[in-house]
Amino acid sequence: MNEQLVITGYCCIRDNAVELDSEQLYRGSEHLFSEFSTGVYRHFSVNYPKFHKMDNLSRLGFLTTEILLGKKNVSGRYEGSQTGIILMNSSSSLDTDRNHQKAISDRSDYFPSPSVFVYTLPNVVIGEICIRHKITGEGNFFVMKDFNAAFMVSYISQLFYCDIVECCLAGWTEILGNDYNSVLFLIEKRKETVEGIANFEPSVAESIFKRR
């Protein structure tokens, strides 16, 4: 059986814009990420009140996934246990860690916020996405200096070859202040080469990641 791994879709949220499979779907003019992300939420008519309570990293990963999976009907084709989610970034949850630090820096006014504190781990974004899309398969969050396409392809290929996943959402979700960049790929198996669908290879992922 000559199955190969292919990128059946990708979504980028960066530079105040949302792009799905190279087509720009939304451009905002907001300066703050919190405002931009609310603009995206409203533009795509997402109805998920928990979104408003999420930290910025979770908002970014959530929206990128929402737009990508919303067009691909993944939940209808795969069991949640067959779907994996592998994310990477360089700042971990530092964006929220700093907010938490502000809340606990003054011992005379010491009121850490529970709803901020719960986001002081980067893999919480994976949890938010899993809850929303009922994904129960392999989940992992890697922190690394730069996007490493070769690592991503190698790691995820192993998950497929070991029959751990049948479908995988993977990529880079980075935010620190108002600098954000989210590029997520949907990876599936195909028996034949399909025109317009790219193979899941480092050079292809790298090329999409660098395209601005």
Partner: protein
Amino acid sequence: MEELIQNLKEEIITALNLSEMKPEDIDAEAPLFVDGLGLDSIDALELTVLLEKKYGLKINTAEEGKKILHSVKSMAAFITENKKD
């Protein structure tokens, strides 16, 4: 009491990031958890912090917390009865 209830509604919206809601959307007597606003355990902790930070009041036991955080009205009653001016 009415003024306190109105203030509490605004503070709850801010503290819990209920940005899509307005004070008038919150029924002061409706349960805050599960049925009413559908709040969760983290929200309960956030409301506990709100009472301590804004009104200097502590909830001592989980059982007490259940009664106090039942609704906006029960929170206002707790503040009215215990606030030291």
